[in-house]
Symmetry: C2
Subunit: 217 residues, 2 copies
Amino acid sequence: MVHEAIPVLTPVLPGAIYDQLRASILSQQDAPGSALTESAVALRFGVARPTARLAIERLVADGLLRREPHHAAQVPVLSRDDIIDLFYNRALIEIEAVTALAGGGTVPPSAVRANRNVCTAADFAPHDIDFHRALVAGQPSPRLSRMHELLMGEIELCIGQVQSAHLISAAQVAAQHQGILDAIAASDAIRASTLLREHILGARDRLLAHVDRTIDG
Amino acid sequence: MVHEAIPVLTPVLPGAIYDQLRASILSQQDAPGSALTESAVALRFGVARPTARLAIERLVADGLLRREPHHAAQVPVLSRDDIIDLFYNRALIEIEAVTALAGGGTVPPSAVRANRNVCTAADFAPHDIDFHRALVAGQPSPRLSRMHELLMGEIELCIGQVQSAHLISAAQVAAQHQGILDAIAASDAIRASTLLREHILGARDRLLAHVDRTIDG
DNA sequence: ATCTGCTAGATTGTCAGACAATCCTTCGTT
DNA sequence: AACGAAGGATTGTCTGACAATCTAGCAGAT
């Protein structure tokens, strides 16, 4: 067995372009509001336009790009309302997830691992995302996970747009995560939900405050 | 202005194939479990394979087809667990929607219209679907609507697979819908949620009973 | 006789090129 | 200065071809 594990979920060439573009968007190299024409992407990676088009369509499906018919795709500029809506739905889904987890008292090992990385890694933002993904992936409903994935693209975009500004310390985040895990282990669904809601809404409010500050300045 | 309203959300040729295939699947002409190869679809509609492929990919995204890498797409056979998971998540989303609607006391006119059709039309199944879509589309969160759409494809599949068996009368369905609308108009979120939950779980249980009966027989 | 390994057919995965439809901008006209 | 038309640019769509992968059937060894 030479080829391992990953059954090529991302096709070779469109997948490579997708990954590159995704990283480029999340790292702000393609600034919010800037347009990405199909031709430009094709030229940039030296492929045919339909190939580039496929990658763009996937990014659109992920919420990392937006486009109207006959117009170039744009990196979205998340408005105040977008952020509020995003975190509102995120809380809904994740609270449902931890409630299910607490019902069985099962703590996903991957969530524990992710939270350990939050403490140790230099840039904890991606591990914070990993933790929340692991939480939802650990509960039994596959469709709840799919809905969560639908939101996480834009969430990453949010985080990326303010990751330079350190709004909270890694230790604080890790502590809040640990509190949620403890509540799950204790099968205390109410406490887990409450802590998670505070954690998410806290992040949202810090984000909003930062956005307001940036706009004013 | 010659061209009206619809800004061609579904592209011309792939869109036509998508619509045909979708109808074909929902009407059971393509039986659950049967495979749809890209070549077969291409031949059936007289187009190139990549064109057929696009249509199939959209159906997969809608949940109306399933596929593994390097395998033909199949019309899914919804298991007992699938139905339970599907209706569980559907209830979660729709309850959130009616709660939001009741908060403002706003009854979506399109939902009222759809429910009128439930009474009058011969086959009320599609109008039942329309009603629930209208309910979610009427609340303010765009992302909640997107998540709902993610579920409705499979829901339609469910309904289609048992629509021949009349498990409940149109009048009963319309009455339950009306009760929900009344609760929303009265800004009674609790009652709207309760009625909706009963309505959805009732449909689920009838569906499960029908499935069990069919399997046994 | 059964199991293993290989070969062939079928199917999906991927890509490039070309033409049509649409939108935006700019220039010309009134 | 305002309106309208032409041209450029961009997306939308489709086809044909080649590469990678999987499944099934066959041959040979144990």
